[in-house]
């Protein structure tokens, strides 16, 4: 499984969405279920699956699919 597939799987599981929905518009404002609990669940799964420890600022910054990809790049996770 590639890193991108791994990330998409996390999103699909956390937000109970379809993989096809993931893209530039998948963000906190457009996704009804994107509350703080789901965001924490998302970042927690990312940390577990990619074996990293996100900084607090990055956890707060994980507010969209695209933002998460940018943040993962900071941790040298190639997607």
């Amino acid at each position: 499984m590639t890193n991108l597939e791994k990330l998409d799987k996390i999103f699909v599981e956390v937000f109970s969405c379809k993989k096809e929905e993931l893209g530039p518009d998948f963000n906190k404002d457009n996704v009804g279920t994107w509350d703080s609990v789901h965001q924490l669940s998302l970042t927690s799964s990312i940390e577990d699956d990619f074996d990293i420890m996100l900084d607090v600022e990055d956890i707060i910054g994980c507010t969209s699919y695209e933002a998460v990809k940018e943040i993962l790049a900071k941790y040298e996770i190639e997607l």
Partner: protein
């Protein structure tokens, strides 16, 4: 002064009372079964106890206190200090601790005090009572900690309602010259006060008709200004950073080896994601970190003493223990406590 050392004070007993009304996440009308399952798995709170409108925190605390006093065989006349640590008093005035002095039949000489400090309530209660006892002027103290926090907020606020449970705990402390020191690190960041607050109802914004007008904030959050609110991400950012630094600093200052020198780490049971992260950050042995949020939810200041009652009661009764506690909440405040116990009374939980 952030660090406190309390000498000559021993823990003698602890017990708790919860309302006889367990509520599963799926019982809460705001959730579908699927959402409830997701909440249970991610937040970790599967059950909580909610008091009916006719039960106050003081009722739960009084029940716990009466049972503890009887079990310790303490003469009521010998109790010098009564603290009521809660954000859900009976009335705005007078202090509930005064009402409890009479209700419990404690002497008129009892020093009473209400402490409305939320989730750090255990540390505030122990720090105040401990310092009052430390010189030996007062010999016995009851610290009553509890809340009926579930009904402080909106019943239509999905971000807050499922998190909290109701309870009343009683802790008995006694002057004891052989006691090990209690260390407490306490901190405040008042600039973050609005992350956890009830906007209307005080004298800054008294209750008016406007206080009852509900607003839809999206993401399942509908509340009025009279309702308590939680700004989830702000609280989370605070909860996973400041308490960890406080714990690290105190552990280092006291040269504590987290594996050899500590039997249990009791972390405020805000939600599983936060507690898990603190455990991970501090690289704590998970076997030393008992959880009870799945049974009770977030109990505010009563969270840590409830872990003592529900998860480590047998150990507390049988052998000396070295305990480190961490809490964070209203204010914003955060604190770390280190204390040693000798075998003490831990009574089974009661349902009221």
């Amino acid at each position: 002064m952030a660090n406190w050392t309390i000498k000559n004070v021993s823990f003698r007993g602890v017990t708790g009372t919860v309302p006889n009304h367990p509520v599963k996440t799926s019982d809460i009308p705001l959730f579908t079964q699927e959402e409830a399952d997701t909440f249970d798995q991610t937040v970790g709170i599967r059950n909580r106890y909610w008091a009916s409108e006719d039960i106050c925190t003081s009722d739960l605390c009084a029940d716990a206190a009466e049972r503890l006093i009887a079990a310790l065989d303490w003469e009521k006349q010998s109790i010098d200090v009564l603290l009521f640590v809660s954000v859900t008093p009976d009335y705005k005035t007078p202090p509930t601790s005064a009402i409890l002095q009479d209700r419990l039949g404690l002497p008129n000489s009892t020093f009473v005090l209400d402490i409305p400090m939320g989730c750090c309530g255990f540390m505030y209660g122990i720090n105040v009572a401990g310092n009052l006892l430390s010189a030996g002027t007062a010999k016995r103290a009851l610290v009553l900690i509890g809340d009926t926090a579930a009904r402080m907020g909106s019943k239509n606020d999905k971000s807050r309602l499922p998190l909290f449970g109701d309870s009343g705990l009683a802790i008995a402390l006694e002057y004891d010259e052989t006691a090990s020191d209690i260390f407490i690190d306490m901190n405040t960041s008042g600039d973050g006060y609005s992350a956890l607050m009830t906007p209307h109802g005080g004298y800054r914004h008294p209750v008016t008709a406007e206080s009852f007008i509900e607003e839809d904030f999206g993401h399942g959050i509908i509340r009025a200004p009279k309702d308590a609110l939680i700004n989830g991400m702000d609280v989370f950012a605070f909860a996973i950073s400041k308490p960890v630094k406080s714990m690290k600093a105190l552990l280092e200052e006291k040269s504590v080896d987290t594996e050899k020198d500590v039997d249990y780490f009791l972390i405020h049971q805000a939600n599983k994601l936060i507690v898990d992260r603190i455990v991970k950050k501090l690289k704590l042995n998970p076997e030393k970190v008992p959880y009870n949020l799945q049974k009770f939810g977030n109990l505010g200041g009563a969270s840590i003493p409830m872990i003592m009652c529900s998860e480590i009661a047998e150990d507390l009764q049988k052998r000396p223990l070295s305990i480190v506690g961490s809490a964070f909440g209203l204010g914003l405040t955060w604190a770390t406590i280190m204390f040693k116990t000798t075998p003490m009374k831990v009574l089974p939980l009661n349902l009221l």
